[in-house]
Amino acid sequence: MNLEQARVEENRLLAADHRRMVLHAPAIAASAGAGQFVHLRAHDSFHPLLRRPLSVARCDRTAGTLVLIYRVLGEGTARLADRRPGDGIDVLGPLGRGFRLAPGLTPLLVAGGVGVAPLISLAEECVRMGRAVEVVAGARTASLLVGEADLRELGVECCSATDDGSRGYRGPVTGLLGGRLDGRALYAAGPAGMLRQVQQLAGATPAQLCIEAAMACGVGACRGCACRARGGGYRLVCTEGPVFDSHEVTYDG
């Protein structure tokens, strides 16, 4: 874990309310793994106060850069969107427990909306290791399939689903999973409803879910980011996650 004054190299609009930020943060880039996240200070005043967690979408150790792909939702991400190339930004990371690739099974990555961000980093790792990887990605409409360009650059094929049918399959991305699970391990990130569906559809197929929770510290100090553990009790998303084995967590209750 490093606390680094990073430099913004790019902060570009990808689609309505979606941006791609490139940060020069060599200390963090040196050790960031697929599915880990950074905790950023969007700006320097009291509103909004807390840092914001964003997944590492790509990591280039040689160049010392990180790519973040984010959706502008509220005040924090709006302040982030204001940042210009050359600006400094305070980044804590890499944080959390990322994806663990299951040996012997083909990774099948399931992305919902901006949830594609952590999965791009997993695709990047697969490419680096010379492993085959499959991706299915869903969004409301074609322009919001915000991971496409990075995946294409990595040479990874992506099967798409859109709610309005403007690209690929019309319907939820989980509709692309039927008959596809043999010999696969699932890695999913996206809205809670989608992750719950993946959990149900996976059955005996190994699955890992990248989960979100409101975070204050991001490092396990405040115990605020609890999610429900299967069988009772809680897990901390920031240190025990954000990537959990599907059977560790539950959306019921």
């Binding site: 200070r41 009291f46 305070d90 991001g218 490092v219 115990r223 605020g224």
Partner: protein, 307 residues
């Protein structure tokens, strides 16, 4: 060199800036960016006799210049503290104050007693002010009689310096503090969080799983400072805190009558905030030509009896 060392109710601190309970885990979590032998001390997460599981999520939400939390005192319990955390904290050169919680007087006493003879513990902070649990916590801190009885019972079983952490959610915090003093506490810690809440207007329900929570951060600083100002006349040393972000805030608390300060939410925002605050205080002393930080205690408060 300006002297930042203070003696807080018998707890010797290299500087007057401590990590507030519940915002710094057990020291390990931030140790990669905050060397524990450079801050005044670590106040642990509230520790109970057995492990507590805590409240259902969501447990935190951001508010204007602050945040609400309803963690529910999730903690791994006394045994874990003693076996895993205290030895490690000692190895890092940390000055450790253990924040103690319980559902009953007996539970508080049992934790205090078990820690009594441990050199790794510099003092205790009795938490009678957590707003997020049904039993224990704030229930003890809102009634003068129950506060007195609890502190008295714990006092009998420990020789460690005993701070009592007060809640601002009372009509008269001074009256509670006087009882705590009369029961044998060595110092006061003020303040814990203010009860607050947020409602999700789309779902028409409270945001926090526990409905209400405790407000912390810059938003509460003026309230906390006034509490310290009033408590300074009780005559016990004070660990002040609530919304401290910068060294100037910390100096305000000292001038109101605090001997040392606790920094919580600011660490979430700027993990090295405590180090920056200690450094800022040192530079302030140099610029002002003041030799000892203790000269500032109560400097703005004619009624203070703590200096």
């Amino acid at each position: 060199m300006a002297d930042l060392a203070v003696n807080l109710a018998g707890i010797r601190l290299r500087n007057p800036v401590l990590a507030a309970s519940g915002t710094f885990g057990y020291g390990r979590e931030y140790a990669a960016v905050v060397p524990l032998d450079q801050i005044g001390g670590v106040i642990t997460k509230g520790t109970s006799l057995e492990a507590w599981t805590g409240n259902p999520p969501p447990r935190t939400v951001e508010t204007a210049a602050g945040m609400l939390n309803a963690i529910g005192l999730e903690n791994p319990g006394l045994k874990h503290l003693v076996e895993a955390d205290l030895p490690w904290l000692a190895s890092q050169g940390a000055t450790v104050v253990v924040n103690v919680v319980g559902r009953t007087v007996d539970e508080y006493v049992a934790v205090a007693e078990a820690l009594d003879a441990r050199p790794a513990v510099a003092g205790l902070e009795l938490n009678v002010s957590c707003p997020n649990v049904d039993k224990g916590g704030m229930a003890f801190g809102v009634h003068p009689e129950s506060a007195y009885a609890l502190v008295r019972a714990v006092r009998k079983r420990t020789r460690l310096p005993l701070l009592v952490k007060l809640t601002p959610n009372v009509t008269d915090i001074v009256r509670i503090a006087e009882q705590v003093r009369d029961a044998g506490a060595d110092g006061l810690s003020a303040v814990n969080t203010l009860v607050g809440m947020a409602i999700d207007i789309h779902c028409r329900r409270p945001v926090l799983g526990n409905a209400t929570g405790g407000l912390s951060g810059p938003a509460i600083k003026p309230v906390a400072l006034a509490a310290v100002w009033r408590l300074a006349r009780v005559g016990l040393p004070i660990l002040g805190g609530g919304g401290i972000s910068f060294w100037q805030d910390a100096v305000e608390f000292l001038m109101a009558g605090a001997t040392a300060v606790a920094v919580g939410t600011a660490t979430f925002v700027r993990p090295r905030a405590m180090l920056e605050i200690a450094q800022g205080m040192e530079e302030y002393l140099k610029c002002q030509g003041i030799e000892r930080i203790t000269d500032l205690v109560g400097a703005a408060n004619p009624g203070a009896r703590t200096g």
